[in-house]
């Protein structure tokens, strides 16, 4: 199935994206990730003020198939969470790069962004993951 990649984001290997403005970043999961999860029924996000290290679990997404942890792409403190997901978790399916964002963080170390993939690199990464799944 075709999936979209937002050119304004950077990506982690666990399929989260981050869109950075100054030292803040919106975080969500990629279109590919939401397709894999299928219909999302519940999103658990942290509290504002919580801090996480890079790759630490900050939330859980539950779909009809499975519950999956979400990993923070770079270390930071949660400054805002997407309250709309409580009643309408399907926003993550409908608009993963927009209204379906999960949290907004104050980034601790902008240098960590260099460890993430560019949109082009992520596209290649997903192709490789798909090829492996097909054996």
């Amino acid at each position: 199935m075709a999936h979209r990649i937002d050119p304004s984001c950077r990506y982690s290997k666990s399929h989260e994206w981050i869109r950075v403005t100054d030292e803040f970043g919106y975080i969500g999961i990629s279109d590919y990730a939401q397709q894999q999860l299928s219909d999302i029924v519940y999103v658990e996000v942290p509290e504002v003020g919580d801090s996480f290290t890079q790759s630490e679990v900050f939330g859980v997404i539950e779909s009809v198939k499975a519950a999956t942890d979400c990993y923070l792409p770079v270390a930071g403190e949660i400054v805002e969470v997407n309250q709309d997901l409580e009643d309408t978790p399907e926003l993550v399916n409908k608009d993963p790069y927009g209204d379906g964002w999960l949290v907004r963080i104050a980034i601790e170390d902008l240098g960590e962004l260099d460890t993430l993939m560019s949109p082009q690199a992520y596209e290649t990464f997903v192709k490789r993951v798909q090829a492996e799944a097909e054996h």
């Binding site: 219909d39 029924v41 519940y42 539950e62 009809v64 198939k65 499975a66 399907e90 799944a133 054996h135």
Partner: protein, 507 residues
Amino acid sequence: MSEAIIYELSAPGRCAAHLPRLDVPAAEPLPDALLRSELELPEVSESDLVRHYVRLSQLNYAVDIGMYPLGSCTMKYNPKVHEDIARLAGFAEVHPYLPEELSQGCLQLMFALQQYLAAITGFEAVSLQPAAGAQGELSGVLMIRAYHRARGDTARTRMLIPDTAHGTNPASTVMVGLEMVQVSSDARGNIDLNDLSAKLDDTIAGMMLTNPNTLGLFDEHILEVTRLVHASGGLIYGDGANLNALMGIAKPAELGFDVMHLNLHKTFSTPHGGGGPGSGPVAARADLAQFLPGPIVTAHEAVYSALSGEALDIDADDPVADAPQYMRSLMCRLEMPEHSIGRIKSFYGQFGILVRAYTYIRMLGEEGLRATSEAAVLAANYIQASLRDTLPLPYDRLCMHECVFEGRVNGAEDIHALDISKRMIDYGIHPPTNYFPLVVPEALMIEPTETESKRSLDAFIQIVKAITEEAKKEPELLRTAPHRAPVGRLDEVQAARKLILRWQPEP
């Protein structure tokens, strides 16, 4: 579905029991403060009530109706002799507050069951307390934590869990306050030894292992896995969900497991599913037995009066040795293990279920249990071999008691495991477990169990083949299935998103 719910059958004043006229003085009515008026209890006659539930039971599917190949759940047939034994008055009508002296028959049954389960698994001691597999798991993880704490080692706060594990494993870990660390599987479905080695250090409390795992595969490096974890100071927890493949063939204790739970409602054929109740005894090696949840049953040789049958309290150094043989017998007691994690269930576990599991073991014996596991493995391999060319098989090697396919059909790309599963309902069989284990995309996990005959396995295989043909020719038939069930395709997404837990009257 045509059946109304019981509240809709209710009519004011209708009643299922008519009591005779009161012939004793009426008691004071309950004070108003203790009465609740908000409970909308249904008012129905006895015949309304019985017909309602009989009709519902006829809409249900059960292992007494047909094949139930629900992977990892071991939905084997439950022999009816278990029910006969469990209904014997001495077992069915015993009161949990009876003193030990008057419960010797029940306690001896529990003691014997503890011994049997220890013999089957190779462990030293067993607690029958846990009321479910997940509760047994929680007990085991608490025991592992207690073991490390007793040694003064408080740094071990993390638990290794394979990516194929049952979801209860991480849940038990987190409930105990430990952190879970995932270990990858390799290309053959074994634990990835490199990944395991990289994650072992002195913060690891242990590892939770299911063997055979949820791919239905026996780990080819099991001895190396348990050796590595032990070498780093961790313990191995065994998830006994898949013991049905091993009885009489391999003992988990000899494979390096330290503590494990067993599911009597799976392996030992006690009722399963909605009714249950479940039972998840925990077994442990000698030095962990002191932490078992309690009480557990211990047996002591005692001297009984030859006349009254009562236990004698004889004032002698060794009364048993001095007594003649005909006056000696076993006296069973309930005891808390020395450093027990405590009670995790009221009274003594699910006693009625223990009676059924005991009966199962006694009916089969050592040879019968081994034959059970062999037949379970043979049945799963027969299905795997017969459907290898029909559905993608991600791990193509000898399986144990279950096999895992991908629910994908070449030439019908839009068909998913869910569609195949729902279509099976139309053919009169319960669908297999789907979308689990998570490492297999579109997983269909099939566990036929030993109680299916070759004829019923062949029928299942033909049904799967017929469905994959339908997928290519009439995919809509699958996508909208089931068509011959009391209800059609349910909106599972809507049900999960807009959870309504109880019926409420129309405003």
